[in-house]
């Protein structure tokens, strides 16, 4: 099976090892991964600020770049929501609507692809540990792929998943929101951190680079000592893939 891999902008800039691990997780299941060297960003920054014209241009660029019939795998629920759901909305009632719908059918968040399409079975090689999980808002409510991420965590036999009380509450990242409203964003992430601390876990996992940057950055600033890790780095570590 051939699949496209879309590394996302934060993935390319900050989380390159996570992208490498994500690709290895796909290869491990026998997938042949195509990485388009001209890939850029899904267009969410301009879309969420209401710049629909600019976003359409980025979306058209992506739909052209990833043409064909191969599935497009993204290690981020947020970008998945954008390319799978928001592109359709963006082109609603225009000549590109049908193209966006077809494109949407090929988009998968990685955990969803591993869990539902490839139905992976992992042999957990790690020590016993406790983790908690932060649901990214767009993964939860737009891409709707959180169940798969949790299924993968739960399938690891030495990992105990302890859910957050405020799991479904936004961490305050929201892309440009964290820059435009830093005080409110800080209040939101601080509440999230309190919740994480209350769980007494070794790791806080999430499958979204934006949320992780926000939560881990604020934890560091506040001197909170819980490790944060991207889901795909965590799985790779548990099953013995070296990053």
């Amino acid at each position: 099976m051939r699949v496209y891999f879309f590394g996302t902008c934060i993935g390319s800039m900050v989380f390159s090892n996570t992208c490498v691990n994500a690709i290895k997780l796909l290869q491990r299941e026998g997938a042949e991964v195509i990485f388009k060297k001209d890939q850029t960003c899904c267009g969410q920054p301009s879309y969420n600020s209401g710049y629909y014209e600019e976003s359409k241009k980025v979306a058209l660029y992506n739909m052209e770049l990833f043409k064909g019939s191969e599935p497009i795998i993204i290690p981020s629920g947020s970008c998945t929501g954008m390319m799978k759901v928001d592109y359709i909305e963006l082109f609603e009632g225009t000549e590109h609507e049908e193209q966006a719908r077809k494109f949407s059918n090929r988009i998968y968040e990685l955990s969803e692809f591993l869990d539902k399409v490839l139905q992976v079975k992992y042999n957990d090689l790690g020590e016993k540990t406790k983790v908690t999980w932060h649901s990214n808002c767009h993964a939860l409510r737009v891409a709707k792929c959180i169940d798969s991420a949790k299924n993968l965590i739960r399938s690891l036999k030495n990992v105990e998943l302890i859910e957050l009380e405020r799991e479904e509450e936004c961490c305050g990242f929201g892309g440009t929101f964290s820059i435009k409203e830093p005080e409110i964003s800080n209040a939101m992430v601080s509440q999230k951190i309190k919740d994480i601390q209350s769980r007494n876990v070794e790791y806080m996992l999430s499958a979204d680079a934006g949320c992780l940057l926000n939560i881990s950055g604020a934890m560091q600033k506040q001197g909170v000592n819980v490790q944060t890790m991207h889901l795909y780095d965590f799985i790779a570590q548990r099953i013995g893939i070296r990053g």
Binding site: S16, D38, N48, S55, I184
Partner: protein
């Protein structure tokens, strides 16, 4: 958007965030309301989602033929003996109340809960003319005593805890200091009974106006709504045009969605269905009932292919209860009668985008509001759409749309973003630069605007870029 307006929002947001008591009160009440709703839906409803779908469909169907429904409602209501008024805007609505008061020589009005009359600022309007509006809803009494607007659509004084309310009653009503809810209720009741004695004019809102019967339906929990609408000589009901629906069955469906969403209770204590003024031979009820049907730019919303859905709102307030921003800053920080997610959607449209556009930033687009809205208004989508109106890329039908809301620097930044994101060479150069500069970013972060705000509350991440080089060397990857 004007810097002064943005600054005004910034100041009030900071002020509310620093108010620790407010934050504590809001968090605790919102957690309770959310928890109650969740438990109730899980235990009492076997298919809440289907009910939501039904609510959404029926509201949208009714909005699609609102003009004929309004005509039908008017004619049926008139047949029943109601006096129906049409108000294009706040001023017209307030003047109708003023005329009724002057004609009947009345200088005091007792008000049940009505957000529409908050929207028209009726209290200030009447007070400026020497008349006396008195709130009778417990929450409204509390905030009227301290001269504040409602902080929440359903629970107007939810930002005050019982100890603070006890102090307000002591200071403003001369009551003994109490903090037990029963005792506080008793103080309010004693205070109100004096006012209810021999009052002539009562005012209320309308939850559902039923076109087929020409009747109005009011929900409340305290009984003061019943007093305000039945123990007076004249009753005036404020009704937004979108409250009109076709049948009682539809009202029952909406009622079943509204109460659990609002408070997590299965039903309200009082359902007041008013079908006419006092008829001959009847012993009580007002002799005259006026219904003021208020537009205030709602018909303009109705015209838009997306925004019309916001008129489905049944004012349950659950989007506020679930909003992670609202529970940090409270309703007053939105500087509008309608706060929270639904407020962000309707306030700019009712009162002008140029006056309320900064409130559109009080949202991280997490989408939780859309997820819980009982009539499935896509609130987050509409907030984003309104942002596009703000930058001049929408359908441009929102009132108060002008270039004053545009941020020139942001427009430039987004255009550059688009150019780089559609040009792979530039994009790769940007990635390479970021990777190269990353060791220095900590030093320069305070000088770069976006990074400066970011690093105020968070450490910078250790950039781990260079993805292209890594991937191009990976075995088995087709790098093309």
């Amino acid at each position: 958007m004007s810097e002064a307006l943005k600054q005004k929002y910034h100041n009030i947001v900071s002020q509310k965030l620093e108010d620790k008591q407010l934050r504590k009160n809001l968090l605790s009440v919102m957690d309770t309301l959310k928890g109650n709703r969740k438990k109730l839906i899980a235990s009492r409803f076997y298919d809440w989602e289907a009910l939501r779908e039904q609510g959404k469909t029926l509201k949208q169907k009714n909005l699609a033929k609102l003009d004929t429904l309004l005509e039908k409602f008017e004619s049926k209501a008139k047949e029943n003996g109601f006096i129906v008024h049409w108000a294009k805007n706040s001023d017209e609505a307030n003047n109708i109340v003023l005329d009724i008061m002057r004609k009947n020589n009345i200088n005091k009005i007792l008000k049940g809960k009505s957000m529409a009359s908050e929207e028209t600022h009726l209290n200030a309007f009447l007070k400026a003319r020497g008349l006396n509006p008195i709130e009778t809803d417990l929450g409204e009494i509390i905030i009227q005593l301290i001269d504040e607007p409602p902080v929440h659509i359903v629970a107007p004084a939810i930002h005050k805890n019982r100890y603070q309310i006890g102090e307000i009653f002591r200071d403003k009503l001369g009551a003994p200091l109490e903090s037990e809810p029963e005792k506080l209720n008793e103080i309010a009741r004693t205070h109100l009974r004096k006012e209810f004695k021999d009052f002539k004019l009562g005012l209320s809102g309308v939850n559902f106006a039923i076109a087929n019967e020409g009747a109005i339906w009011l929900l409340e929990n305290e009984g003061n709504g019943r007093m305000s609408t039945t123990a007076c000589d004249i009753h005036v009901a404020f009704c937004g045009i979108e409250k009109v629906i076709e049948t009682f069955e539809e009202a029952s469906i909406l009622n079943a969605l509204l109460i659990p969403s609002a408070t997590g209770a299965p039903v309200t204590c009082y359902n007041n269905i008013i079908t006419s003024p006092r008829k001959e031979g009847e012993l009580d009820g007002p002799k005259e009932v006026h219904i003021i049907i208020l537009d205030n730019n709602r018909s303009n919303m109705l015209k838009d292919s997306h925004y019309y859905r916001a008129l489905s709102c049944i004012r349950c307030g659950t989007c506020l209860n679930h909003c992670p921003v609202y529970d940090k800053i409270g309703g007053h920080a939105y500087l509008s009668t309608y706060p929270g997610p639904i407020g962000e959607v309707i306030s700019p449209q009712l009162f002008g985008l140029n006056k309320f556009s900064p409130m559109l930033d009080l949202c991280s687009l997490c989408g939780r509001c859309s997820e819980v809205c009982p009539v499935k208004i896509p609130l987050a989508e509409l907030i984003r759409d309104l942002r596009s109106e703000r930058v001049g890329q929408g359908r441009k039908g929102v009132v108060g749309t002008d270039s004053s809301t545009q941020n020139k620097a942001e427009i430039k930044a987004m255009q550059s973003f688009m150019q780089i994101a559609t040009n792979p060479k530039k994009w790769r150069l940007l990635l390479a630069m970021a990777d190269f500069l990353s060791p220095l970013s900590k030093t320069f972060a305070p000088l770069i605007p976006g990074l400066k705000t970011w690093t105020k509350y968070r450490e910078l991440p250790k950039l781990n870029g260079n993805l292209h080089q890594k991937v191009s060397k990976m075995q088995g990857v087709i790098y093309e």
